[in-house]
Amino acid sequence: MSVILSIIYLIAAVTFIVGLKKLGHPDSAKSGNLIAAIGMGLAILGTIFIHDLQVPTIIYVLIGIAILLGTVIGWLIAIKVEMTKMPELVSLFNGFGGASATLIGIVEFGNSDIKTTSATIVATILSAIVIGAITFSGSLVAWGKLNGSVKSVIKIPSYNIINNIVIIGIIALSTYLVVLNIDSSILLYTILFAGLLYGVLFVLPIGGADMPVVISLLNSLTGIAAAITGVLYDNMVMLVGGILVGSAGIILTVAMCRAMNRTLFSVIFGSFTASAGPEGTNKALGSIKSTTASDSAIMMNYASNVIIVPGYGLAVAQAQHVIHELEELLTNKGVNVKYAIHPVAGRMPGHMNVLLAESNVDYGLLVEMDDINPQFSNADVVLVVGANDVVNPAAHNDPLSPIYGMPILDVENAKHIVVNKRSMKAGYAGIENELFYNAKTAMLFGDAKKVITDLVAEIKNM
């Protein structure tokens, strides 16, 4: 390999590290992203043009077309999509990366003479194919689940057993192929298919608040797949980039699990379903009280401390701009308004931050869970907009609840609670929320955007 290319790869690897580091601070995040992108561009251009291979022009043309095609499509999707669709988009793009690794593995398998290739190389090729396939199908299922085209929780009978059989099958077949050096494309495609199947089975039963964890985990797996292909080509930039993403992704995944007080093991093997509490127990929780926009507006107008708890409902209703209007209006009237951000509110960690930043909410007003929790007892009114599981007191007092032990926002300590929801339907985790039956809680039913617009109009008239 030419020295110049090696140096370019070295520079690219450094930009990845610096980029990721800068992404960790609000002020430098944008430049971090740009630096990493420039490094990636350098690595791509260097790979295409700096080598001593005899390459026919037609292949350069094909590479050019492929890059142009991917750039235009990728750019258009990224620019056009609504902010609320971001989480599933990340998952989709991640799946593409996995698919790319699988395709590379398949070509390399075809190119190598398996009978004479060393077992470690064959094992490397197979791992790239399998891990790529798992991330591809898994990410597509996650994408489908988040945009609603795949039903959120699908129970497969004895799914753990089936899942384990598939993964053991993959390992057994791969070992068989590697150890005996069998050059069989049927066996290869069986392994590929099993990998795809495993990805689907792996993500399908996972639901509720665990979805972000899965996306993060799949993201990390794509990095590992990229690193494995890097080993195959002895390519440093792929190796360093892939491993960086792999380890950073795992850390992020573990951090998210910790935020929900769950272990990675229980996320993967214990599907998050509404198993606790038989149907009808909600009757015992008492009755709910509903309220009107004008009543809630009066309450907030004369409050001194208001805390807004945003959730996925805010994103779905595209209510981030009106909520900012409400917050500004109240602030101008001398009310102290803050947003309480639960780490897993929405469909991804930081989802609410991104959404509220879109409507220019000052991020100093976004207070994280540990800092805001002691403040709820001072709050006159808490306005819960489209959040459910992250304010469910069952996490504190119901050991049978599937979310028991998950840290929540202690909304029930406030003097008054106004909950905006579209209906009494359960949240993403599919469980009842006793907060709604609390004597201090008033329900404000309706689409978040419409309800908040009404609130703004009412307060303006006061």
Partner: protein, 102 residues
């Protein structure tokens, strides 16, 4: 087992890089505020598109009459670029919204 030891011996440099990169990844991510988790995940996702380098190598090394390899390589490049460009563009769009109020 013998194969594995041989592999490690032949690729000691790679083994070192893998281990050091793991620690760099952990250290770089460790203290990131939850506010930036989504853009970070998205940025890391764009970086995992580095697999495109391998896809380009596949195409460069393919024989121009090997249509299967070229076709698979072509698809791999398109998907890889989608991952890279889409990933960085989405991250940039998210980050554009993090600005302080004057």
């Amino acid at each position: 087992m013998k194969e594995l030891i041989e592999f490690i011996n032949n690729n000691l440099q790679i083994v070192y890089i893998i281990i050091l990169a793991i620690f760099v990844g952990i250290e770089v991510i460790k203290s990131i505020p939850a506010v930036l988790h989504t853009p970070l995940m998205s940025g890391a996702n764009a970086l995992s598109g580095v697999v495109i380098v391998g896809a380009i190598l596949v195409m460069l090394n393919s024989n121009s009459t090997d249509y299967l390899a070229l076709g698979l390589g072509f698809t791999a490049v398109v998907l890889g670029v989608l991952n890279v460009v889409g990933g960085f563009a989405v991250t940039n769009r998210m980050l554009k919204m993090f600005k302080k109020k004057k």
